[in-house]
């Protein structure tokens, strides 16, 4: 018996299903145990199906009323019951991508520093501080952003940049309100850094030490070993880390709601206010006026679920492709 276990442990890639012994219903306890595990295994998929079904049911009046037009319409008018979801879709994607643009280089750089360069006495406290960021509730991030980040961005970034570049570059056009897609992106970036950097650090640390030593022994510099050996080896895992961050950024509600300006329009500038799907749900659901409004919000929720599923599917596909290329 120990042989079997050792064999599977030392060759994990050979047969992932190696331990799946045929079930022999030798006793009643096995049957109970099996039933219990099957139940646990089914809870989450059933929950997902249930949530999706409830959303479709709730969104159905809006789906029938607006159909595909919801995915191209940009008017959001609860008074005249005309609804379109584009501003929220654009706001969610733009703020999340901006967050990735800021957070990914920082997080991977931080992870590399901690695993490759930093002495142990420095690495441990920095890693701990980064992980503490994940423990701060998002409403606290939001409050901090309202009182510190937004005024700073408005006076030190938005105003000077839009004065100098706003005329020539549309994405920096003013006026500098403060609450904006930029503020939303920055706060999201700060919130996802702990996740992306923690996973990146684990992935980079998992690259075998022997590979680094081999590179160095061949005369590679520290930079070359990191850039050409460690990062490519960790690529699939790093993509996974980024996607985890993206998933979190898309779903984050409270902090973004507090700084993005909550204006249902398609933003043409980084400094313009916008709105996200999660924010409009949090804002309007409790006091939705009438069934069409409520149903349109459900439609937004369905859209949000769809976007999350697409992002996860893309992440899976990307990781899979990278792994296959690495294996070749």
């Amino acid at each position: 018996m120990t042989d079997v276990v050792e064999g599977t442990l030392t060759q994990p890639a050979a047969a992932p299903g190696g331990l799946a012994l045929p079930w022999r219903l030798s006793s009643a306890s096995d049957a109970v145990w099996r039933g219990l595990l099957v139940g646990f295994g089914l809870v989450i998929p059933l929950l997902l199906v249930g949530i999706a079904a409830a959303l479709v049911h709730g969104a159905w009046p809006a789906v029938r009323a607006f159909g595909g037009g919801f995915l191209t319409g940009s008017e959001w008018n609860p008074v005249s019951d005309r609804f379109g979801g584009v501003p929220f879709l654009v706001g969610t994607l733009a703020s999340s991508l901006l967050a990735l643009l800021i957070a990914v280089p920082l997080s991977i750089g931080l992870a590399l520093f901690l695993t490759e360069l930093a002495p142990r006495w420095l690495a441990a406290p920095i890693a701990f501080a980064t992980e503490l960021l994940a423990a701060i509730p998002s409403v606290v991030y939001g409050l901090w952003a309202i009182f510190v980040l937004v005024p700073f961005l408005r006076d030190r970034v938005q105003s000077p940049v839009s004065e100098r570049l706003g005329e020539s570059l549309g994405i920096f056009a003013g006026p500098a309100y403060g609450p904006s897609i930029l503020a939303g992106g920055v706060i999201l970036a700060i919130m996802i850094i702990p996740f992306v950097s923690a996973v990146s650090r684990e992935v980079i640390a998992a690259v075998p030490r022997a590979q680094r030593e081999a590179a160095l022994a061949l005369g590679a510099t520290r930079w070359e070993s990191t850039w050409q050996i460690v990062l490519p080896a960790a690529r699939a895992g790093l993509i996974g880390a980024v996607m985890l961050g993206l998933g979190r950024a898309i779903g984050e509600t409270m902090a973004v709601t507090m700084v993005i300006g909550n204006t249902p329009q398609i933003p043409h500038s980084l400094f313009a206010p916008a709105y996200t799907m999660a924010s409009v749900l949090a804002n309007e659901f409790a006091e939705a006026s009438g069934d069409v409004h409520r149903s349109a919000l459900m439609y937004v929720a369905l859209l949000l679920l769809g976007v999350t599923l697409v992002v996860n599917a893309l992440a899976r596909a990307l990781v899979w492709r990278v792994e296959r290329r690495a294996a070749r």
Binding site: P78, T263, N283, E287, S289, G290
Partner: protein
């Protein structure tokens, strides 16, 4: 056998039913006062009322589906909402008055900036864009208004406060009524959305040139600068508890009114024009007569003795005429 058991169970629970427990849900705006009322009323009578401040929309929905004994709302139920109430005819009982103030952050300008409904509508629909616009200067010849862009701040969450404010703008400006209308959430042509009174107040405080609207209680407690608004009689009136009550006192109560009344832009020399009732909604015929009696007793207490708790929490008490109208409605509750 089953029936005997059921009877036994009923008998066992009967004493518990006497120690009354009423369930209610609805508006967040009057919730601080209602909480005070319920604790005072419980101390006096032993009747416990469990109130969940889930918002006016939730209060209406729960009443329609009869999952609560009574509801509370900042905006009256629409005819459609009344028609889909499962328990029959719904009574609207105005309990207290609230006001919405216009607050701003204009460097060098303190409280009492004078604004007319037309100017407010032009500011909030984005056609009046600068603080030194002739239309504002004309109303405030003494104020030193800077050449600065106006930044509009509004509520991003659906809210009775937004309803009262847009109801006021709709009643004052036909252009606003045609293009935007009144609602708990509306399609704002310009501006930034803040969540809750604190969100709007935060935006206004931190953004020079900003203007927004918050509840009277919130403005009072946080000492925000507020505008004097011109009322229908032509006077500029600052928001206060007295001027809010005056808005309801100046109103003519139509005979047989169902009390779903809007008092924005009301008559009366001292009336503050952005004022509104908040209502408790209850079925005229409840299946449980004991509960109906308890609710009627509570409402009677609330519109009389309860009113003196209002001012301390920055709500405006009802004028005598409305209390009398409330009494007539409460008498309709079948008990």
């Amino acid at each position: 056998m089953k029936r005997i058991l059921a009877a036994a169970a009923l008998a066992a629970f009967a004493p518990a039913a006497l120690a009354a427990q009423l369930n209610a849900a609805g508006a967040t705006f009057p919730a601080p006062l209602y909480t005070k009322w319920f604790s005072e009323y419980r101390a006096r009578t032993g009747v416990a009322i469990n109130y969940q401040a889930i918002g006016s929309g939730g209060g209406i929905k729960n009443l329609q589906e009869m999952t609560v004994d009574f509801g509370a709302t900042d905006g009256p139920m629409s005819d459609g909402e009344l028609a889909s109430a499962r328990g029959g005819r719904v009574l609207h009982i105005p309990t207290i008055l609230g006001a919405v103030t216009v607050t701003y952050n204009v460097p060098g300008v303190g409280t009492g900036l004078r604004l007319t409904p037309e100017v407010l509508a032009a500011i909030f629909n984005g056609t009046l864009r600068s603080w030194d616009d002739a239309r504002i200067r004309q109303l405030n010849p003494a104020a030193r208004l800077p050449h600065r862009g106006i930044i509009v701040a509004h509520r991003s969450d659906g809210s009775g406060t937004t309803y009262i404010f847009t109801d006021f703008l709709s009643s004052a400006s036909s252009m606003w009524r045609r293009t935007i209308g009144a609602g708990k959430s509306v399609s704002w042509p310009v501006g930034l959305g803040g969540r809750g009174n604190e969100g709007v107040a935060g935006l206004v405080k931190q953004t020079p040139g900003a203007i927004g609207y918050v509840e009277l209680a919130y403005a009072n407690q946080n000492h925000l600068p507020v505008a004097a608004i011109r009322n229908r009689a032509g006077n500029f009136v600052l928001p206060s508890i007295e001027s809010t009550t005056a808005a309801a006192a100046g109103m003519e109560l139509p005979a047989n009114s169902d009390l779903r009344l809007s008092i924005v832009n009301g008559a009366g020399a001292d009336a503050y024009p952005i004022s509104s009732f908040t209502w408790i909604i209850v079925y005229q015929q409840m299946r449980d007569r004991a509960k109906a009696r308890q609710i009627a007793d509570f409402l009677t207490w609330a519109v009389h003795d309860g009113q003196r708790f209002a001012a301390g929490l920055d709500y405006a008490p009802l004028p005598a005429a409305v209390v009398a109208a409330d009494e007539a409605k409460i008498r309709l509750i079948q008990r």
